[in-house]
Amino acid sequence: MKKRDTLFWAGVGFLFLVLLFAVFGPHIRHDHLTQGDTIHDLPNAKHWLGTDELGRDIFARLAYGGRLSLMIGLTVQTFAITFGIIMGAVGVFAPSWIRTPVLRFTDAMFAFPDLLIALLIIGLWSPGVIPVMVALSITSWPGMARLVRSQLVSLKDREYVIAARAAGASTTYVVMRHILPQMIGIILAVAMIDLAGTILSESTLSFIGIGIQPPTPSWGAMINNARGEMQSHPVPLIWPCLVLSMTIFALNFVGDGLRARLDPKSGRT
C-alpha cells in the first residue's frame, strides 16, 4: 500500500511538472522556436535540450507543443464531460423513444475506432488545430456518456434522490444538485485517463502529418521530423518520445489510481 502511494504521488508530481513546463516553458525559451540556429546542437547552456535538424531549440518547441497538446486535450475533455453528462442523462431519464436510439448511437460510436472517424473528418475538412479539436471532440464523448449513465442508474433510486423528488424537485435539478456532486470525482478521474487518449490521438495525427501543421511545433510532428536522421542524430528524437510517453503513462497511472480510490469496485482489474 505504502509503495503504491509513493508511485501515485510521483505521478502527480510529474504531471504538475509537465503543466508548469507547458505554461511557463514557452516564456523561458522562445528565441529559436521556428527560426534555426546551429543545427543538431547537443544539449548545452544556450539550448538546454539541444537543437533539431533545422537548428530550432528543442526545449522551446517541446514546451510550446506541450502547451498546445494540453490545450487541445483539455478543450476536448471539457466537451466530452459536458456532452457525456447530457447524453448519459438522456439515456436514463428521457422517454424510451428518445432513449433507445440515443443509447444505440452511443454504443455504435463507442465501439467504432475513434481515429478512423477523426481521419475522415480532418481529411474532408483540412488539417490544423481547429479541425483536430473538432474531430477529437466528436469522437470523445461516448465513453463518458456510458460512464455517466451507469453511475446515474445506480444513484437515481437512492433515498435522498427520491426524497428530493418527493419534495417536488425537477429531473434537471436533482441531477445537477444531488447526483452530479456524487459522481464528479469519478468523472474527473476517467476524464484524466481519457485525456491521455486525446493527447495520444492528437500526437498521432500530428505524427502522420494531418494534425497540427508546421511551423507550429507539436510532439507528434517533432518525432516525425526527427526520425529521418535518427541514426546519426538521435537527440531530437529522444526528447519528444520521452516526454510524450511519460506524460501518457503518468496520466493513465494517476487516473487509474484516482479511480481506484473513488470507486473501489473498478480498482481490481
Binding site: L116, L124, T204, G209, I223, R227, M230
Partner: protein, 328 residues
C-alpha cells in the same frame, strides 16, 4: 435454430453499422468545402462553369437521391474516381493496397492473440510473483507507449547495422514488393513484415495480456478449479483445459475492440515504414484533399473492423454454451 437466428441478427446488425459509416462519410463529404464539380471544372473555373459541371454530374439533385445512388454504386464496388493523377478508379487503388494492410493487420492480430493469451495465463498462474509483476509492467508500457515512439526505438535497436537499417526502414521501391502470396515470395515478405508486425501487435498484445490475466485470476479462484485440483488433474490440463477454456470469453470479445486499435495503428505504421497500404494511401489522399479516395479507404477500413467484430460475436455463442442458452 436459435444459433442461426442469433447469427443472422448479428449479420443484420453488421449491415446496419456499415450503412451508418457510409452515411457519416456522406455527411462529412457534404459539409466539406469543394466537391467533384469544382475539381472537374478545373482550377480557373468561373462560378457558372462550376454550376454547369454540378448539373452535368448530377450534384444538383437532393441529397437523399445522391445518397441512395452512392449506396447503389458502393454495392457493386464502384467508389468513384481519384481526383488527382491519372484519375484511377478508387476500387483499383483499394484492390492494390488492401492486401498489404490486411496481411499486416491479421498477422499482427495473430501474434498479439498468441503471445498475449500466453503471457496473461503465465501472469495469472504466478499471481503476484516476479513473473507476474514483470509481465504487468511490460503490458502497462505496451498500452501507454505510442507505436510511433516504439517503432523508431525497435528499428534503432534491431538495425544497428546500417545496411539492415536501410532495408527495414523503407519500402521505397514499391514495384519490388510482391502483392500476391506465392510460395517463393513468402519468406522475403515475412522478413520485411517482421518489425512492422511487432510494433503493430504490441498494443493489442498488451491489452489482451492484461485482460487474460484478470479473467484467469478470477477463474482460478472458482470452485470447479479447486475440485479439478483435488481430483488430481495435471497442472497443464488444469490451466489450459479447465481454467483458460472458461476465462477466454472476455478475451475473445476484446479481440474485436483491439482490432480497431490495430487498424488505426496500421495507419501510423504504414506511414512510418512507407508501406504501400490502405493507411498510407488514406493519409496521402488527406494531404491532397482527394475526397473519393479518403471516403473509399475509410469505408473499407470500417468494413474490416465491422467484419472482424461480427466474426467475434458469432464465435462467442459457439464457444460458450452458456451464451448459446441465454440467447433467444
Amino acid at each position: 435454430m436459435r444459433l442461426a437466428k442469433a447469427i443472422s441478427l448479428r449479420v443484420l446488425f453488421g449491415a446496419i453499422s456499415l450503412l451508418f459509416i457510409t452515411f457519416i462519410a456522406f455527411i462529412a463529404d457534404e459539409i466539406a468545402p469543394g466537391d467533384a464539380a469544382t475539381v472537374a471544372a478545373g482550377e480557373k473555373a468561373t462560378i457558372a462553369q462550376i454550376e454547369l459541371q454540378r448539373k452535368r454530374l448530377g450534384l444538383d439533385r437532393p441529397w437523399t437521391v445522391r445518397y441512395v445512388e452512392m449506396l447503389g454504386n458502393l454495392s457493386h464496388g464502384d467508389f468513384g474516381k481519384s481526383y488527382v493523377g491519372t484519375k484511377e478508379p478508387v476500387a483499383d487503388i483499394i484492390k492494390r493496397t488492401l492486401p498489404m494492410t490486411a496481411r499486416t493487420a491479421f498477422l499482427a492480430m495473430l501474434v498479439a492473440i498468441i503471445i498475449g493469451v500466453t503471457m496473461g495465463t503465465i501472469a495469472a498462474v504466478y499471481e503476484n510473483r516476479l513473473g507476474d509483476r514483470t509481465i504487468l509492467i511490460l503490458s502497462t508500457l505496451g498500452v501507454t507507449v505510442p507505436n510511433f515512439v516504439l517503432a523508431p526505438l525497435l528499428v534503432y535497436l534491431w538495425c544497428l547495422n546500417p545496411n539492415k537499417f536501410a532495408q527495414f526502414v523503407s519500402y521505397g521501391n514499391i514495384s519490388e514488393l510482391p502483392m500476391n502470396w506465392t510460395p517463393d515470395r513468402v519468406a522475403p515478405d515475412f522478413y520485411y513484415l517482421l518489425i512492422p508486425v511487432m510494433v503493430l501487435s504490441l498494443r493489442p498484445m498488451a491489452m489482451l495480456t492484461r485482460l487474460t490475466r484478470a479473467s484467469m485470476v478470477e477463474t482460478m479462484k472458482q470452485e470447479f478449479i479447486k475440485l479439478a485440483t483435488a481430483k488430481g488433474v495435471p497442472p497443464f490440463r488444469l490451466i489450459v483445459g479447465h481454467a483458460l477454456r472458461n476465462a477466454i470469453l472476455p478475451v475473445v470479445t476484446a479481440i474485436g475492440t483491439s482490432f480497431g486499435f490495430l487498424l488505426t495503428g496500421s495507419f501510423v505504421i504504414e506511414r512510418f515504414f512507407t508501406m504501400p497500404g490502405l493507411g498510407s494511401t488514406a493519409i496521402e489522399a488527406i494531404l491532397q484533399t482527394n475526397g473519393p479516395v479518403i471516403i473509399g479507404t475509410i469505408i473499407v477500413s470500417g468494413f474490416l473492423f465491422i467484419f472482424v467484430n461480427m466474426i467475434v460475436d458469432i464465435l462467442l455463442p459457439i464457444l460458450d454454451p452458456r451464451i448459446r442458452e441465454a440467447q433467444v
